[in-house]
Chain length 372, copies 2
């Protein structure tokens, strides 16, 4: 009866953080996948009042043992028939290991049916040049990543994983090549790169041009070489929390949709790796990413409008008695709240975005200064 | 852009249990309210792998202190502008008290704006004649209920709260009258009554008739007397977990919708109590309940179909080596899993149900043997 445009039926185990208020981690990812028609089991790694971007929060973190115990609860009642696992923030190295063990166990359970289980791993470690997890979390991720099917590092996390400082298109390509090779991982998306900050003389981006974010993805060929695609999207002038989680949730739904739109052989192929003849922009990963970014752009643009309206409507008269420091804090809290992504009333944009982006192929040999 | 039929914008604080797999407690309530367009903050009182109806589960309970701390986290960042609070299962008497304190604090914050905050309380204590909480939980609920605006006991909980054994229509009416009076609570819905089990000679329900569930609701008049309405719905031949949570979530959304459809004076009236001239079946509570039950009937009927298909498709060959006891357990686990309410792909039924039920007025003086 429902005319809703849903993705193919998908049972997901989502492991990430929970916040009471707002939309980050599993609170974001679970809802986004549900709104696209996925059945989501949500295993929460922290229980916080709100996201950490507010500058203050209360709550508790799950221990590695608690994470493992919840999974054992699923196992003992035979509730593990997941098509996809999406793993995000884990609050300690031991928790990362516990999540890794869950992914590996689900893989083992599915090993007789190639392609029947797919693990999307978001290696949440830091952003903008700094780690926001303990140092021990990095090696913990490095140990489990080669078991995943798709990883979603941001630019900084890609640097950490590849050991390559990304300062140009060629170092970016080198980082992806290194990630494929080092971790034997078939699919990678670097979820946001600010190419305008690259110093390469070949870049023509002028400082006055509208800011663009670049998303780079790749699926390996059978010889391990990358098939790189690139999508440029207009950057919005606002910092939103939870966009990484939104991207991850959308890619789960859209990648499965894209794979189901292909020859049925693909979904029975380990890690859904397309045959070598498929070009970069025809990859299900590229088709999915294009759709993901369109949905994100529409929802975030709408969020920005609503944020601005909310901030204009603020009655700050109550702030008068506050100290300067308290006023600054109050303004930050208001801005953080106003920038919470608006999902529930923008489902239409999520499902059927009104913008179209395009993936372009990106051949390594075209890159200035790229050497294999 | 979205043509989705959503309820008026509603910010809800939902306090209930979380399960990784399946749909009960906050996992059910949060999604249902979100799918109808509500913005939901979810404060989870337990973190379990699955609902207890499976007969086994793993996980942890939040302490009263942890519940309070999460709410303090919201307060310190000014994230408490809720229109509605929905409180469900709390795992201890102290947790019930903590939830009560949150409800009262939100009421206090809203006291200058009558009608701007509404508390729906589901006094989760037991069912089918037995408590499934500690004995101390009962007095804890009795202490906080008079602060709520609407309570949603099932038949057993209504008996516990009213001190009246419900064995007939007249004892049912007496229980509701007692609940209104004892707890000074303006709105009550008894969410399921099996009238076929009543022994009153005036009942004409024959044993062979299709089984019916009866839902009774009431909003007080200004003199404290009940305005009773009754809705009969066909009972489905399946036990689903989480239907109480589904009812509660739907009534939050639909009651707000019904109140917003009235004269704007009502939504500025404390507890949204309609003027005395409004008859029982014209109450927003009655209009909302009718819609809630229609959505539930459609989604549960669909769930039953899908449950049956899932059970027919079971490959039980793996059970051959099991003992009889293990086989029985395995069958129970399969049935529990198959009966998980199917929400994400039946949103259309949730939003625009295809059946229509009717509320009828139910006057106390018409009841056999009823005495005031």
């Amino acid at each position: 009866m429902s005319a809703d445009p849903l993705v193919p039926e998908t049972r997901v185990l989502a492991i990430a953080s929970h916040v009471v208020y707002g939309y980050v981690g599993n609170k974001m990812a679970t809802l986004v996948m549900q709104l696209l028609g996925c059945d989501v089991a949500a295993l929460n790694t922290v229980h916080f009042s709100n996201h950490t971007g507010y500058g203050q929060f209360k709550g508790t973190r799950a221990t590695a043992e608690q994470i493992t115990e919840l999974y054992e609860g699923l196992c003992q009642s035979h509730l593990t028939d997941f098509d996809v696992m999406l793993s995000g923030y884990a609050p300690s190295a031991a928790a990362v290991e516990a999540v890794g063990a869950i992914g590996m166990d689900l893989q083992r359970k599915a090993e007789k049916n190639p392609g029947s289980f797919f693990w999307v791993l978001d290696p949440v470690m830091g952003d903008q040049g700094r780690l926001y997890v303990n140092d021990e979390v990095v090696p913990a991720y490095k140990k489990i990543i080669h078991h995943a099917d798709l990883i979603l590092p941001n630019q900084f996390e890609a640097e950490v994983l590849s050991g390559t400082k990304i300062t140009s298109l060629s170092t970016l390509a080198a980082a992806i090549t290194a990630i494929h090779a080092t971790y034997n991982i078939p699919h990678v998306i670097i979820t946001s790169v600010d190419i305008s900050k690259f110093t390469s003389p070949s870049q023509s981006t002028s400082q006055s041009a509208p800011k663009t974010l670049t998303i780079i993805g790749s699926t390996t060929r059978s010889d391990g070489s990358p098939r790189l695609f690139r999508i440029d999207v207009p950057a919005l002038d606002c910092y939103f929390s939870g966009t990484g989680d939104m991207f991850a949730a959308l890619i789960v739904a859209r990648l499965r949709e894209a794979v189901f739109a292909e020859d049925p052989v693909l979904r029975g192929t380990r890690s859904w790796v397309s045959p070598d003849r498929v070009g970069a922009t025809d990859l299900p990963l590229a088709r999915a990413t294009v759709r993901v970014l369109a949905s994100m752009h529409c929802v975030l643009e709408k969020t920005m409008e609503e944020r601005d309206a909310e901030l204009r409507a603020v009655d700050a008269r109550g702030d008068e008695g506050l100290s300067e420091e308290e006023k600054v804090k109050r303004v930050h809290l208001r801005k953080s709240k106003a920038a919470e992504v608006r999902l529930v009333r923008n489902v239409g944009f999520l499902r059927e975005p009104t913008v179209v982006f395009e993936a372009v192929e990106w051949r390594e040999e075209d890159l200035p200064g790229f050497s294999n």
